[in-house]
Point group: D2
Chain length 320, copies 4
């Protein structure tokens, strides 16, 4: 192992830069050279890279986004794209590749690892937290806190106007973000794609809350539950209470990472390089029960992480 | 002048609580009693109030929203509503009333001042900054900074993905918020209702920017310009560049007020009570060229504040 | 189990209010009444309490400090104080008591549990994270992030002036806070009480860094290492480089809790009430390897939590 | 006017980068070339500079510190240093120089303007706000808000522990920062160098407050008032109340600038270049009564800005 590559791919997540920094510095400390492929998989296919030294990653631990840029790339999924990637890695004598990204990026890493001679290790970084094999992904804690801060502000208006607010958060088809945000902002109701909700029952709960003296309410809804605009209108129509919708948008994906996102980025980056130094590939690193671990890319890509429903149960009790 | 009332009305704005605190404490310092009417004009019509002492307003300087709650009230606009309000003020021996709110609230204050014996003074508090007679309203600076912080985060993703982001901010039919936010986040383009824009020209600017090497762009758009969802789709279709929309929602209306919003709340609250102590009513306080001032409610309600177009010109040059 | 008490004691920590809210609402959900003792142990000794209902804890999840107030109390340690406390709990028919606080508060809880008939359960809340039996205490994550945000700002000046900054963080006699802050701000050097440092070696590292082109440096020092003022002066004298000291003070102990501190407060509060409902006392709740757990007060008070030295090792490599 | 230089000097202030960006882009828009001298005056004396283009200043509007770095330079004050500077400006065909900094930097600018052929314009940037000729300096609003946010957190602990906190803020020998911070955090007492305070009277006020039921207090003290450590000890000794000291340190000088600091940086940068384009030198730009203005360097350096005492009077009433 002499030269390794890094690529950030898919949606960006706060802490990707901290992970790049960790990979570069641990690699350098162990005598490895590092190439940074730019703009996601596209950079590998187009052979577009820059050398990364410890000085190249100065001051980036606190920055959102990714200095390597990223993209969603269609060609990369094709066998032709994968072949080109494999060829370019070989041409640059890249012995190991660290892929930083979410679910889709790890699937790409798996496909490439079947073709390429280079050892490939994934680092899970996505605000959605939907990667199997790790309790938490890089960026999740930051996104939770960004949404929490915004909802703390929205609560001011909800209380002052005695209104219901439906707040849509990200999370794609999963409810990890919504459930943690909902619990920690004290949401009256949390809606996630994993649990179908009944509109009639929902109206009932809202009116019951109002009857018990709760004049305002925050409903945190995952984007994956469907049309929140319609939901908001339906609530207003059926409960007779004023309802407003607020969509917490792309700010959730950016911003300076929290300590926890930086911590995960640091230990994941370190672990990824250690695996490569040990000659191991086809792995994705993670944290499970507070231990830094790794599983195979196949297992991660082939399994579905389950949502902790006890959080939703507790949130319900705490919102009384 | 022995007893004064306070009411917060219309949309809430960060710093309303700081203004309540200032009014209560300056009034108390000058030997006045204070009644806080609850839930906006409705509180006056329904004769719903609480006494406010210096201790009632402890610790509220830093809170968003309004401890008196607020509402938009239809009945209040009617002559019947105004008569009821006037009667209740008299019944409670309220000699002076401080109305904290935006444009609409001041119109209500003007209507009431024509009927009621009580002296009425308005304090402009709205994130829209669209009140004539003051260079800046309470809450404006906070909303600008809230939007700025979110857009600073969105910029991370815009740059990392090399995308165009249209970010819609509040401001009702005016561009005060959008222009100050746009200037201070370094937006490539700012769209305000006061200046009609040409879609073709807009696409041209975006493509020119891209040609000059600016791979990402932030377009700050006031909510008053119309359908930003359509605009976003049009840009993507016509420029061939990826475009995303993010609507900065109700968070702009809440949150702990900035120092400047608290400062204005403090000096406005003080000025309002001083006017009442001087036996003056039918006024709205403000800050003009750094001096705390007051004008008549008629003048404020009857005039339109002009937008400083030089900010937009400067923003254009600074985005090159 | 019909009535339980709550008390917050010792230094305050962000998330104490979220824990109070959780205890009150879970207790209420299970048919228990709740008494809130005020100003720490003093409230039990003086029989000073208020009833707490789900509405009493509305809107407090986001507030720093503790609505029950707290104090450090000398009398409480005496056998006389403990007897008075025990008597008052009995007089109020308090069957269970939840003690929210740090190390010292748990020692008080242990002493009381030996005398009182009431079941006593501790909830670890301290920014120092120095409680045995839990991987993380309520407030720790918030304090880490508060210090991180400040140091991110100090880094601006450090870089612009090409200076060395020694930043002292809290943590009493332990290095939990300093090591996590140091890792996540990318500190060049981290000093903790658990590892004696050699001044000469320290000067050497600083000059070596400077020689390698690192013109500024952040040294994160735990308050427990001794006189940072002297250290700062010594560094300047011995390295010839400009050094400045900044002490991150009491802000670390306050502020709105992060999502993680609120999450721990919620699950700890729930667990504490569940233990009481099961008739169990003399326990302290915690989180270990991501599971909510409990151990005896004796074990917690009698053991010393070890610092994860691998964090310091990793931080060193990452600062190259 | 073909080529202009920029230098940032003295203590850094948030918004310096936004000012650099504004100068560079306005200059470029008007066909001027820009040289950025590095590390303050030292860069001019050592002839150390880089060319700055619109792309060099991309993304810096939101960064604290200064990309040009800064220093306090002894040689620069000497006539020899000034001669070297003048010679280097001439050698590089620098027709105009923009000096961004505080009081001391403007004095340097004045000295240089007497010797150099280049037109010299100052932009006031300092968190101390102690520059004559402008109501507000770049960085002041950011520092006020940074201190405010920290004190809002400290207030949590002050209230929970029912303690007195003395919080020392920056401001050198002036009370601009302390008075605005004090007013906007609702400080019970504000101490500034411009008004001598009597210790006995101070103890009296504190005990009176306590007697009226205010169990905690925040005293905001400017660093210029003297030894706050001693003051804190004296208060505790003489009032019998617990007192703690917290020094808000260098974080006040860094961090992402607020909207207002960015706004001032933008209009000041624009004005400075316009003056140079008009062939005018020996000026310092500013904002007075909301108008962007300029006065001579002599007048600015030779006059003392007065502190608005009405803020302190109002703060006293509002803290009742």
């Amino acid at each position: 192992m002499k030269t390794i590559g890094i690529v950030t791919s898919g949606g960006d997540a706060p802490g990707m830069n901290a992970a790049i920094r960790a990979v570069v510095r641990v690699a350098n400390y162990n005598g490895l050279q590092v190439l940074g492929f730019q703009r996601g998989w596209e950079g590998i296919i187009m052979n577009n890279f820059i050398p990364l030294t410890p000085r190249s990653v100065s001051g980036i631990i606190e920055l959102g986004g990714t200095i390597l840029h990223t993209s969603r790339c269609m060609e990369c999924q094709t066998s032709d794209g994968i072949k080109k990637s494999s060829k370019n890695l070989a041409a640059n004598n890249v012995d190991g590749l660290v892929v930083i990204g979410g679910d889709g990026s790890l699937k790409g890493a798996l496909a490439l690892s079947k073709v390429s001679e280079a050892r490939i290790v994934g680092i899970p970084a996505t605000i959605d937290n939907d990667v199997f094999g790790t309790d938490e992904t890089i960026g999740f804690d930051t996104a939770v806190n960004t949404a929490r801060e915004e909802i703390d502000k929205i609560r001011d208006t909800a209380v002052s106007h005695e209104r219901i607010f439906i707040v849509e958060v990200m999370g794609r088809q999963r409810g990890f973000l919504a459930s943690m945000v909902g619990l920690t902002v004290g949401a009256e109701i949390i809606l996630v794609p994993e649990i179908k909700y009944d509109e009639e029952a929902l109206f009932g709960i809202i009116m019951e809350n109002a009857a018990r003296g709760k004049r305002s309410a925050i409903i945190v809804a995952a984007e994956g539950i469907g049309d929140t605009r319609k939901l908001s209108a339906d609530i207003q129509k059926n409960t007779g209470l004023e309802a407003r919708l607020s969509i917490i948008g792309y700010a959730q994906r950016g911003g300076s990472p929290t300590a926890r996102s930086r911590f995960l980025a640091s230990v994941f980056g370190n672990k990824a390089v250690q695996l490569l130094l040990d000659g191991r590939g086809n792995r994705v690193v993670g944290i499970q029960n507070s231990k830094v671990t790794d599983i195979s890319l196949e297992e991660s890509c082939g399994s579905t992480k389950s949502l902790d429903l006890s959080i939703l149960e507790l949130a319900k009790v705490l919102a009384t």
